[in-house]
Symmetry: D3
Subunit: 332 residues, 6 copies
Amino acid sequence: MRDSPIVASVDFDADGAQHGFLRLPYSRDDSAWGSVMIPVTVIKNGEGPTALLTGGNHGDEYEGPVALFDLAATLKPESVAGRVIIVPAMNYPAFLAGTRTSPIDRGNLNRSFPGRPDGTVTEKIADYFQRVLLPLADNVLDFHSGGRTLDFLPFAAAHVLPDKMHEDRCFAAVKAFGAPYAVKMLEIDAVGMYDSAAEAMGRVFVTTELGGGGSSCARTVGIARRGVRNFLAHCGNLDADIEASPSVWLDMPSDDCFAFSEHDGLIECLVDLGGTVVADQPVARVYPTARTGVAPIDYCANMDGILVARHFPGLVKTGDCVAVVGVTIEDA
Amino acid sequence: MRDSPIVASVDFDADGAQHGFLRLPYSRDDSAWGSVMIPVTVIKNGEGPTALLTGGNHGDEYEGPVALFDLAATLKPESVAGRVIIVPAMNYPAFLAGTRTSPIDRGNLNRSFPGRPDGTVTEKIADYFQRVLLPLADNVLDFHSGGRTLDFLPFAAAHVLPDKMHEDRCFAAVKAFGAPYAVKMLEIDAVGMYDSAAEAMGRVFVTTELGGGGSSCARTVGIARRGVRNFLAHCGNLDADIEASPSVWLDMPSDDCFAFSEHDGLIECLVDLGGTVVADQPVARVYPTARTGVAPIDYCANMDGILVARHFPGLVKTGDCVAVVGVTIEDA
Amino acid sequence: MRDSPIVASVDFDADGAQHGFLRLPYSRDDSAWGSVMIPVTVIKNGEGPTALLTGGNHGDEYEGPVALFDLAATLKPESVAGRVIIVPAMNYPAFLAGTRTSPIDRGNLNRSFPGRPDGTVTEKIADYFQRVLLPLADNVLDFHSGGRTLDFLPFAAAHVLPDKMHEDRCFAAVKAFGAPYAVKMLEIDAVGMYDSAAEAMGRVFVTTELGGGGSSCARTVGIARRGVRNFLAHCGNLDADIEASPSVWLDMPSDDCFAFSEHDGLIECLVDLGGTVVADQPVARVYPTARTGVAPIDYCANMDGILVARHFPGLVKTGDCVAVVGVTIEDA
Amino acid sequence: MRDSPIVASVDFDADGAQHGFLRLPYSRDDSAWGSVMIPVTVIKNGEGPTALLTGGNHGDEYEGPVALFDLAATLKPESVAGRVIIVPAMNYPAFLAGTRTSPIDRGNLNRSFPGRPDGTVTEKIADYFQRVLLPLADNVLDFHSGGRTLDFLPFAAAHVLPDKMHEDRCFAAVKAFGAPYAVKMLEIDAVGMYDSAAEAMGRVFVTTELGGGGSSCARTVGIARRGVRNFLAHCGNLDADIEASPSVWLDMPSDDCFAFSEHDGLIECLVDLGGTVVADQPVARVYPTARTGVAPIDYCANMDGILVARHFPGLVKTGDCVAVVGVTIEDA
Amino acid sequence: MRDSPIVASVDFDADGAQHGFLRLPYSRDDSAWGSVMIPVTVIKNGEGPTALLTGGNHGDEYEGPVALFDLAATLKPESVAGRVIIVPAMNYPAFLAGTRTSPIDRGNLNRSFPGRPDGTVTEKIADYFQRVLLPLADNVLDFHSGGRTLDFLPFAAAHVLPDKMHEDRCFAAVKAFGAPYAVKMLEIDAVGMYDSAAEAMGRVFVTTELGGGGSSCARTVGIARRGVRNFLAHCGNLDADIEASPSVWLDMPSDDCFAFSEHDGLIECLVDLGGTVVADQPVARVYPTARTGVAPIDYCANMDGILVARHFPGLVKTGDCVAVVGVTIEDA
Amino acid sequence: MRDSPIVASVDFDADGAQHGFLRLPYSRDDSAWGSVMIPVTVIKNGEGPTALLTGGNHGDEYEGPVALFDLAATLKPESVAGRVIIVPAMNYPAFLAGTRTSPIDRGNLNRSFPGRPDGTVTEKIADYFQRVLLPLADNVLDFHSGGRTLDFLPFAAAHVLPDKMHEDRCFAAVKAFGAPYAVKMLEIDAVGMYDSAAEAMGRVFVTTELGGGGSSCARTVGIARRGVRNFLAHCGNLDADIEASPSVWLDMPSDDCFAFSEHDGLIECLVDLGGTVVADQPVARVYPTARTGVAPIDYCANMDGILVARHFPGLVKTGDCVAVVGVTIEDA
């Protein structure tokens, strides 16, 4: 297979703090010899494990990028043991556009793994993480939030994995992160995900959902900022105490967690995030917008639990997920 | 002046509940003899005052439309005294597109009054309200929220007016509405606003800001739904008790309330809505996105107060308002 | 008022056949010193009346342009008396784009009269016809068809006018044109029309609707080609016999002629053009497209008559005119 | 190979009439957890053959969708024997957009077979028909028309097939359909077609072309509606007499049937659909639109026959097919 | 008339160097409370004349912006007498987009004077220069180049004016500027120009054309940089010697200077800028691109002279100016 | 593998001059049975070698198309020996759009080899050259220039090849071409290039860069026109003397030739094309455009040499190549 066309301007083996770029040549109508320049920071201090910290896997999710641009600017090599690699905006074209997918090729980076060195821009980014960055890492933290069209309760999560020792190490890191909620995920269709790529290499992998709506707030950024430091301390990269913060553990046991709209219209959320619901309780209502005086349609929860996620925009389309219910469980 | 080209399919003088359209002929490439069909409901029961209830003046603000589509479908003529006219989505093309302004002509309806019968689609809508609907009304309630790019504390508001008796009637209606916050507004530049058009005719006029981000939630929709019923009870259209709910009163005394970004970047809100701030306290931080390792820029409050509004999207552009501070006052 | 910025490359006073341009300077991003070049032909042979023949007033109507590009290429000065001015594509940018309105400014030329010399491109074209070409003309024939979104029975038409001698001259020309149908039009809202501009100057004015759908066929082009030669013979510009062809005369007496859709969906025409209908007979059916198994909505004729026009595309939007019924009358 | 990501909300094995959706998860910028919801109806009554009826393979062809939305809403299980599966709009995103290809990925569904479960949205639809629906079917009827850019004589058709008994069964179904014309097609390049996919599985497959221009009319919808009932009766799903209606049989023997434009311009059709032509007779004329006074270019038939299809829009581009000639043959 | 909505963050009356913004509120779908922030520099040192230096009047012309961003960053108050106001990118939205006109409203700033305080964004900018900045200025230098679609010989220019003393002062400043060429312009249609607005107030006004193609080079930037310093020295703002550099003086006496294409195609320039031409000499050739083997069309000079300007892009459209010829004259 | 879907209207084996098309069927929303028609000329006179001459591989490079449309229209069969195949605009959709890549699929033809017969339009073109035209050719000349975003010193070039006799034949042809500069290229990443495809078949292959900016001028077109005739004479297709014109030979030895911007902004070229530079000398300067008064960033040459290429547009983006330095060498 061809080498990645991406060239890093930082030396991953050098001690100290380096701020540079992953330069991806991208020839196009408005720049024949142009490039995508993905910001990257490497902070290294002697031997030790490598943490790979990423945000902007989807371009419209902000708690991770805020925490990581901040961390990259403030973390001192002398306070680190081993190596911390920070890419605050993985799908950088999507991040600049403020969109889930890349404006260049509409690529959803988190469904593009393992990528291709001669593929689209998004596939080239996936390939670089697959073949260059993940192999350098021991522990991986990838920040997500709901983006412009979903809103989530703030949680960290890991996947149920075939190797239970591997799974345990992941959940230990989720616990250390210390978000208000923690989720045990059974991914039905993990094909193409960054998560799966990292897990298949045996890496400790933690993901999050910390809010949504294409925005962030002081509260959720605080969760991200504290979580990443806890994660680094847990991984041995940072000599600091973990700010203990017990999480409520949740499970999403089946497809019954999800409710989908079968109508276009104006949506009214009948329960707010974190609210308790019982099976058959209406959780969202859709008003047809073509005329007044007609009855709205109610969508109900399929199980008891709490509202974990919801459709965000004020209008909804047929086929959109309107609500997700999770079930409280014992600590994983 | 020419008559409005808009034709209503409802009879504003007939008793009972009617659901129909304001039909605005709109010839265009994809429909030579097409029309914009704005939903309207009239509910009338004998003599009495007329309330004009509107949402969707800006197309991406949702508490008003949810409350009004609901009210239009559920309000019974027999429970009404006088007349209630409901237009849940004034700038209907903008509402369908989920955008602040009209996708047809980019018109901001709330800066298009008094409108023109031979102008753009947005100007024709303004003209119809100016010359047909406002003259029918005694009391006017126009719902706003922050839209996709701003987020607000939930409040109802009225303007400082030259005629103090007129002003008093407006603030009495604000009080009746019963939102968590109530604002006394001194509009610097009221040219072209629906508010000003209604006030110039001597109408009682109440406006709101009930949330934002291009979404709504159960809590803010609840405020809107309770507020409109309180308003109708206050105006004598509904024989019901007002659900008493005292508001915190706020003032926005000068341009110093507003902070604007002078940088493009990734924004971090340092204070959440409703939080207390003191002068010179940083309220928002902007991270340049071109590279890691550079210091962010802080924007500070210019006065003591509470955070009333904020920029919503995760990215910010030079010139965007990042934060608004208000001052707590005695009941207006 | 400023002079028109349009400069003709032909000399309207010279004998012979000239093919040139109306050059309209149009500075834009992709040509700082560019122009719109509207093709024009002048064929003159000594003294006599002037006929002004136009097509492409709307850019997606084709019988007129075909007949007039053909006529411009084949009409010999020696067979003409007086002057024939041919502009086969008045709103030339719209014609090149195949759209009703101008892609430059979305201007509907037939609602832009009298135009402005310092307005949009479309307004500059209107102004040139208003102040330069119409004053040169005695008789005006303007070809229309239904365009991409409407389909018509083929007819020529003139307006009911306050000056009955003027009206008689117009209807005599309609009769000479010899389309299968002839229509007596009472324009409710004639503001901005080319028709009105010409009639206000006392010109004989004939308009047509000869088909539609954004296409033409051999049959309808034949009607146009024969009609324009009949018109020129009638006006004294061509020494030829009029090919007699009696028309069926129709009236559209009121707004009841029109039926509008109040639903989006898939449309089924229940009657084809020229078919006889009676009041309350369903003429079009709209199927909601969001799901199967729901009943369609029928739209009915409001009066007895024949189907004169219909919505053309397979999908229909709320507010679109779905059908037009006309009433057969005696020869005007 | 992965399972199809599409989930049907109907049970193909249950008796009765069910109206539901084929839900295809489609994550995108404006809906992270959105779906394409393709309407589907299953009507089943005991044992018997399965008919699969489809429209909207190309999104701008309307006789099929009208007949099938109608049939889905009106066909009673008790009048059916066996099973009828109806998908009125196969390429549903294209159908909603009124375009030949999908607005999501520009996919031409009828060139996307066998599809891919991890491909584009259009490829996922093809894969679902390939691996789920076609295997359920015995007889397949797929409605086509000319779409926005072509117009056809109304015909049903089947392909010349290597297995003559298979071919005979197909032509028997074409005959039963009873369109005004019937065509024996020799597909030069059948790669990627739904037709070929069905035929390769040994299914009886009938296709149609029933009009075009992106519209339909009462006459052509009548052909579709009668044809589908005849087809179901012929297949044993409906206990009804076939409305006998003999077809004129046509052949398109070679590439000489087709004439292509080598010029951009305004097109004049010199012969209408169904008209008789002889070799070297001009069938279409193209006028250059840049100027008046230049000679048009004529395009001629390459063989004797009748005009079976034509370019529809009023403008034509270099490379467009302008006319298709077919040859009358004996009943297949 | 309303005040300008633009607020300057600099104090035009304060001594020293200030770098700030002209903030123009601009509410839009992606920023309800957004602004256009036009960079401005004021450098003042005591009493003395005011020079107003501008670039980016058209957004794709670069010599001026380069020279002025450079000057703004390097000019010291202590080396200045009086006041220098620098706006390197007047039509700032156009400048950021790299287009002649504003991407917001397609406004050509240099045809928008005197502007309107309640008009489009471009009209608001014009109004601010008209009513705020021009009244502050004594001498005005406005940089232009050919932009993306034209290329020019480098020249400075002033207009023939009714007041010959005024004209003399302008030409003296042109001479001081010291470009390789100097042009005496007789503007046919000066309506809406910044030039005319400044001249009507009696200001000394110098304009330039320094290259084009939407680029700049070391040579042309050198002309701009030296020219602006010479201009400031000439106006008394800078105590420096004028770098003497005699210009070749040119006149453009009539419309015969210009040649326009009447064909779309691929353009070949037959003479390069500055080359000598004689009347009827071909200066440009247009190849039709639809096919090979056809003869190109030649466009000829209408007079003797030198080639002053040319169409820049490789393709040309009907109506584009292909070449401009100027005539060498004695020093103005 | 499937045959190419492209059909040539010319007979490559017939003597004489033929002008025709490569017809590539392209079904799309605006033409269901449309085609891309790529102009081609074949000029043949008896036996002899075949020269394949191409331009428009990138659609915004003009010296080649001008020279080749001209040659196709003027070269007489009787002056030719063997065969000359001319395709002036290989990526014809890109050429018509004036863009580097195809507007249909954004394909960069010169990175699409060997192409696919069932791929995108651009891949189909590549496949046709790969499997049909290149096998017919002995010698290949492919014209390039810098396009809209780069500008080059005018040169012809060939690649360092593993077979030195093959390389020698290529450099002999470069020498014959006679451009002002000649370049010896060591392609790092030649995957997908037309060059590599031709070289892998053992063809003599010459490429050029003759200017740029999306324009051409009399001087550079003169180089192309003389070069192609020299090339044909050298190859034995034209019985003419080679117009001797010694080139300056250049090498681009390593990645150090290239300088990339790490900032967005307004670019100033500090050295013009052909200018001498020394290592560490600033060659380009980038001004931030967000505000005045900040220092620009300088980009320096990494080696001694002359400026061979530069970024063209006035604005530059992070990741764009700003300058290329070459080293003068002895004749290859």
